[in-house]
């Protein structure tokens, strides 16, 4: 027990504190520039804001230290920096709109949402002792996700804003349930896939060396595909359908290791996208605006106005940007939400855009690293799902703004204005931290739990060489995880049936979910 402090240093809490300091500096520095350059000078509000930001950072850090001491040290600071940068930019957009005679209070609202998001994330970390508890709610999550996704279509509840029917009214506030549906679906997919991966992975005829899925196993895939199409057509939300479908295919692939699922999935999506483009005028016009954005007739029709204005803004930013508060991001419609990346590109330049993308990339790669590190298949799939959905969402929205793909209406995680997105993404970060805590604790503080196993030699290696060596014939990843607890705290002891147990002993009082 004398090595407690030493171990906690190695798991990165001190790094996290330093990185959080950087994140605070970025958030406050950006806000100071915005106030000085666009807001008529730095005032007392910056002081109050600084205190709040630093207090939140300290609080979050303390909660992590207490409840998830081995959690990944990069996720929290990265999310913190992105949120802070987003808040500064949204405040800047408020000023930009105000100078054009439009009074908005996006920043005030978003600051509230960020606080709720961070507190929510801390609550998740504090209350959810083990992510495997979520497996109990696999189908509940599936139903909840579906309901949340389809809720905006219900008359009286759903609201159509700017042509997309993805909002609902709740207590006088508008809510984008799709953002929460994303997390629910990740839980559902993970639970469903971890139970059915054997059938999905192994059964089916082999054609040309590729094992095709059995037709009856295609059912769930087809259902999700159909749901994605419904979302795209009924809600006019191309981005969300791409996100949900891509997420499912990616998780299916990870669960089954079969590339054929990806091929089938991409083929289905291509068919759906082409069909939608042929049948539905609004989809066709999106494609048109993407391919011929600068064409005068397309531009003058207004279809590519927003996209082209965003491109103009980014181009004017050049390599180093105009400087925060010195550009004209307010010229782009929805500069505070869908086009916040164009706003950042304009004022922070290509340099700033690259830095933000790098932050996302680091965050996603840490999530995927967590997936590799954690032992249980359910946890792996959740981490993959959350990480990949963040990557895909960033790709879809930033790719839309930079004309890599057609423009769709997704929010940029942490940066864009929107409470649902802010809260949902912070909860995702909390879940990832919870999983990484288990993954890393398994490698680091196994000795601390009085369970000296073969693992204590490899603190950071997610898969213990010793465990692998013990059962060379079995691919530890391909085999479903056995019930945790059966290892009786002994770590990776080979079970009689040849399966590898979950390496992490459950905290007291947590029951394994019956499968």
């Amino acid at each position: 027990m004398a090595t407690v402090l030493e171990v906690s240093v190695r798991v990165g809490r001190r790094s996290e504190a330093v990185l959080l300091l950087f994140a605070c500096a970025i958030s406050l520095g950006a806000r100071a520039f915005v106030d000085a350059n666009a807001g008529g000078g730095i005032g007392a509000s910056l002081g109050i804001y600084s205190i709040a930001v630093i207090a939140l950072a300290i609080a979050a850090h303390m909660v992590v230290r207490l409840r998830a001491p081995a959690a990944d040290p990069i996720l929290l600071p990265a999310a913190f920096a992105l949120s802070g940068l987003g808040l500064a930019m949204i405040r800047r957009i408020d000023f930009a709109y105000a100078s054009r005679g439009k009074v908005t209070h996006f920043a005030d609202a978003q600051e509230g949402w960020a606080v709720v998001g961070i507190l929510g994330a801390m609550l998740v970390i504090a209350l959810l002792k083990d992510h495997r508890l979520l497996r109990r709610y696999t189908y509940t999550a599936g139903v909840l996700g579906l309901v949340a996704l389809l809720l905006p279509l219900v008359p009286g509840v759903g609201r159509e804003v700017n042509g997309a029917r993805i909002w609902i009214s709740l207590f006088g506030r508008s809510l984008q349930p799709g953002e929460f549906a994303k997390i629910a679906f990740v839980v559902f997919f993970a639970g469903y896939l971890v139970s059915n991966r054997d059938t999905l992975a192994l059964a089916g005829p082999k054609v040309l060396g590729i094992r095709l899925p059995r037709p009856r196993d295609l059912g769930p895939l087809l259902i999700v595909w159909a749901a994605a199409l419904v979302v795209q057509i009924a809600q006019r939300d191309l981005g969300a359908s791409l996100l949900f479908f891509g997420l499912f295919v990616a998780m299916l692939y990870v669960a089954t290791q079969r590339i054929s699922w990806v091929v089938v999935g991409l083929a289905l999506f291509a068919v759906g996208a082409v069909a939608a483009g042929t049948i539905f005028a609004h989809v066709a016009s999106r494609y048109d605006a993407w391919l011929h954005a600068l064409n005068p007739s397309v531009y003058n029709s207004g279809r590519s106005y927003q996209l082209v204005q965003g491109l103009f803004g980014m181009a004017s930013g050049g390599l180093f940007g105009t400087g925060l508060g010195n550009g004209s991001p307010g010229l782009v419609p929805f500069a505070e939400s869908d086009f916040i990346m164009a706003s950042l590109g304009e004022e922070l330049g290509l340099t700033g855009l690259m830095a933000v993308l790098a932050l996302y990339l680091v965050m996603v790669q840490r999530a995927l690293r967590t997936a590799i590190g954690v032992r249980d298949g359910f946890g792996k799939l959740i981490a993959v799902g959350l990480g990949f959905s963040m990557a895909l969402q960033t790709f879809v929205v930033v790719g839309g703004v930079t004309r890599v793909i057609p423009l769709t209406g997704l929010t940029t995680p942490f940066l864009a204005y929107g409470g649902s997105s802010m809260i949902a993404n912070w909860i995702a970060i909390a879940l990832l931290m919870r999983i990484s805590d288990l993954a890393r604790a398994a490698a680091t503080d196994a000795p601390l739990r009085d369970a000296p196993g073969p693992a204590d030699t490899a603190r950071s290696a997610p898969v213990r060489p010793a465990a692998r060596a013990a059962i060379p014939a079995v691919d530890a990843d391909a085999v479903d995880d056995g019930p945790p607890g059966e290892g009786a705290g002994e770590g990776a002891v080979p079970l009689p049936d040849g399966a590898v147990t979950d390496a992490v002993p459950l905290p007291d009082g947590v029951q394994e979910v019956a499968r």
């Binding site: 100078s99 054009r100 990616a250 692939y253 990870v254 669960a255 290791q257 600068l294 531009y299 082209v308 491109l311 103009f312 803004g313 980014m314 181009a315 004017s316 930013g317 050049g318 390599l319 550009g327 004209s328 307010g330 010229l331 590109g345 330049g349 290509l350 855009l353 690259m354 993308l357 996302y360 990339l361 996603v364 790669q365 995927l368 690293r369 997936a371 590799i372 298949g377 792996k380 799939l381 993959v384 990480g387 990949f388 990557a391 895909l392 960033t394 790709f395 930033v398 790719g399 930079t402 004309r403 890599v404 997610p462 898969v463 990843d477 391909a478």
Partner: protein, 488 residues
Amino acid sequence: MNEPIRRLSAVVLLLFFALMAAGSWVQFVKANQLGEDPRNVRTLYKQFGSFRGPIIVDGQAIVSSVPIDDPFNYQRTYTDGPLYAPVTGYYSIGPGRSELEATENALLDGSADALFWTRLGELVAGTEQQGASVELTINAAVQKAAYDALGDKRGAVVAIDPRTGAILAMVSTPSYDPSTLAAHSSSDANRVYQSLLNDQTNPLINRAIGGDTYPPGSTFKLIVAAAALQAGYSPDTLIDAPQELSLPLTSATIKNYGGERCGPTDQITLLEALRVSCNTAFAKLAMDIGWPAIESMAANFGWGSGLDIPLKVTPSRLPTSPNAPEVAQSAIGQFDVRATPLQMAMVASAIANHGVLMKPYLVSKVRDPDLRVIQQTQPEKMSTVMSPDTAAALTVMMQAVVKNGTGTPAQIDGVSVAGKTGTAETGLDTPPHTWFVAFAPAENPTIAVAVLVENGGDIGNEATGGKVAAPIAKAVIEAALANAAGGN
């Protein structure tokens, strides 16, 4: 499951590389092309949104950039816009730039090479790019006097310090207010511009140096007289002055103003011919001394050469190889002889400066944002037009014009003014253009002025240079002398 996760993480990497590549494409590779797109209003903001240097007259900024709370950050404002419009021009997001706002643009917006070190300093200090201030040779009192004296009449006044070539006044009426074109709405600016373009009185034309040049009428007799004096004539030389001059090769004749005789006999002195502006005498004289002498004298005065003062000056024109009757017509400033008011001011200026023509200029100094002088215009000799003796003789003759000739309305108590009237036919149905060129004080000239009033000003067909233009010249000279006296 780890292998597919690793592959997935490679896919994620590829996705982000695609985004980074796209970002570089938009913000680096295509940045200039997108920036030049006419639909990109940011380019206008950048171009029109920087602090632009002021234009200064007599220590007062007549054009300046004032901070404003809109995306452009600065509003170009013009004090006494119509008064100075022919000099300053406009700076507009609609029609663009003109006059000094155009020619001095690089200095005003700070992009000129001369401001390299200033820009470097701004870059290091992180401050925004600032333009240089441009100080003019214009004298506010003279400019104002000229503008007020022209009043509602269409015309132009140019006043020059003959000793240096510094332009003291440059007025063109009717004028326009550049402020109306500086509106930060391109549709408003373009609308104003269109209405100015469609205006029958052509307010956008700088009559002093550009647009249509005008037949100089009798003021061109100064050039013929100078050529004759250089050729050996003296003010007292008797020349033929018939009541009506029949021209060779044609049935046309040349008459004097009102068909009158120039003197009691058919012969008068050269001085007398200029004093009463005798058409027949100068037509005959021109045919006698020959076109080449007149042509080369006119070229010495600046005819045929363009000028940058730094505004672009339309070259004044002469007929090419005219025959005898055409020479006779040209000698009295008709036929194909054309001149800008600036050119006629240069004529007066060269005579006043003892035969030496100084190059006219508008910008005296340019100062960087730290008020260091980075450019200063040195007076520059343009040509030696005639001998000092010829200039002295012409001065005496021009004094006679004002003392008791056609230019008496330009008389000023206590100051000897030298001048010459001009009344140029413009056609059968339109009133004549009236001119007056002058300088004063005759003994030690400090101002040379040319006044043009189009189509008779406010008195129509009865107009003469003496009646319409001379009083304006008088007002300008008085203002200049009073200002010099007050200044000293």
